[in-house]
């Protein structure tokens, strides 16, 4: 009798495994999980909550990612094994399919609007900062758009690298500086040299002669046109005077 009792007490002294409390908090939605994923961009730390991906960053170490996350997002963070389903979705997202959901809870409504609009820019295309500002109904807030994009907690996945300055300067990039921005855009098939040449000569729009529609350079609808079939315009008035209408897809001006 006595031995059985003592043994049973020992059973009651078992400790929960390491990280148990954190895993419970993550499941209850009170902490985000994170893991390191191998991607086409190299290893990227990605954090997520029950609502979706909440942060991503290329960092030299897990410690630095945790510190950056605490500063930017401010919630608890728990390292877990990378779930296979999420890994597949991350790969798809970086290949241009939109399969991820995002958790933007901690951001201001303005920053959320900027990032959601940025998600609409297709792979291989770019837009100026002013376009985002106009599209979300704050045409004068170009600088604020720049700030919101610079503080994008989920670079690469919310493609803030696809927003560039209209004067052709590639602009700074929170996900690893101008060089990283150039590298990712090239990887996505943007012809940076052409884009910068146009911008430096003051040409903001390209028109296609056969359709008489003008677009932002890199717009999907100009992808098949030969270079000699493009005409270029400094501004909207010039394009309209030449008898061109704005593209309904990339919306260089209100149609």
């Amino acid at each position: 009798m006595a031995t059985v009792m003592i043994d049973l007490k020992a059973l009651g002294g078992v400790k929960a495994p390491a990280g148990f409390a954190e895993r419970v908090l993550a499941q209850a939605g009170l902490a985000d999980s994170y893991s390191l994923f191998e991607t086409v961009l190299g290893p990227v730390y990605v954090a997520w909550s029950g609502q979706g991906v909440s942060a991503a960053m290329r960092c030299p170490s897990a410690g630095e990612f945790e510190e950056w996350f605490r500063k930017e997002v401010g919630r608890r963070l728990v390292r877990v094994e990378p779930p296979a389903r999420l890994a597949a979705r991350i790969e798809d997202q970086l290949n241009g399919k939109r399969r991820l959901e995002f958790d933007l809870r901690g951001l201001t409504p303005f920053a959320q609007a900027v990032l959601l609009k940025t998600l609409e820019i297709r792979r291989g295309e770019v837009r100026p900062y002013g376009w985002i500002a106009r599209e979300i109904g704050h045409p004068a807030a170009v600088r604020a758009v720049g700030t919101a994009l610079a503080n994008n907690p989920i670079p690469y996945f919310i493609p803030c690298h696809r927003v560039v300055r209209s004067d052709g300067v590639i602009g700074n990039y929170g996900g690893g500086g101008p060089e990283a921005k150039r590298q990712i855009l090239t990887l996505e098939g943007v012809q940076l040299a052409r884009l910068q040449k146009l911008a430096q000569s003051g040409m903001r729009y390209e028109g296609i002669k056969s359709t008489r529609i003008f677009c932002f350079p890199t717009c999907y609808h100009g992808r098949r046109a030969r270079e000699e079939n493009f005409v270029f315009f400094h501004d909207e008035a010039e394009a309209r005077a030449a008898g061109y209408r704005p593209c309904k897809d990339c919306r260089p001006a209100v149609a």
């Binding site: 059985v4 049973l8 020992a10 078992v14 929960a16 409390a21 908090l25 499941q27």
Partner: protein
């Protein structure tokens, strides 16, 4: 809302070992124990957010969590019997020093597997009374049974554990 989140965090930190140990004793292995403990706390959280601050304050946390855990186990293992293989020829070796952590861990696991092979009504009663060391009144409350029934089940469960009653054929 913020208050509930803090309260829940404290609840998890304070009770995680006990609830994990309970899961281990009831299911017989560490993998299921973690699942049971996680489910228990998640259910507790879902309930907590609907409770008024007064109700949260008056909650007898320990008894409440034990009741949830017992229900989690009842719902999940319905129809699934613990594997008997782990039991065969596994008498705990006597006289192992407490400094031998691995050995102790193996012993604890063996014992947990043995307890998990008890029929559910004996297992619940024995575990809550002698592993978790709740009073008979608390056990009765957690299981929703009269105290007399609990006492009888604890007694019969211990008898089976001591090997005085082979199998669970004659109840």
């Amino acid at each position: 809302m913020e208050g509930t989140e803090r309260a829940f965090e404290r609840l998890v930190l304070e009770h995680q070992d006990r609830i994990y140990a309970l899961g281990l004793a009831l299911t017989g292995n560490r993998h299921d124990a973690e699942e049971v403990a996680q489910d228990t706390f998640l259910r507790a959280y879902r309930a907590l957010v609907t409770y008024s601050p007064d109700r949260v304050r008056e909650l007898k946390q320990r008894a409440w969590l034990h009741r949830i855990a017992v229900n989690v186990v009842r719902n999940r293992v319905r129809g699934v019997r613990p594997r008997l293989v782990e039991l065969n020829g596994s008498e705990p070796s006597p006289g192992s020093g407490p400094e031998e952590d691995v050995l102790r861990r193996a012993e604890v696991d063996q014992l947990a597997a043995r307890v998990a092979c008890l029929p559910p009504r004996y297992r619940e009663a024995v575990v809550l009374r002698h592993v978790q060391e709740l009073s008979y009144a608390e056990v009765a409350d957690a299981l929703g049974q009269p105290v007399g029934t609990v006492k009888a089940n604890v007694h019969r469960g211990l008898k089976i554990l001591r090997g005085e009653n082979h199998g669970d054929g004659d109840d």
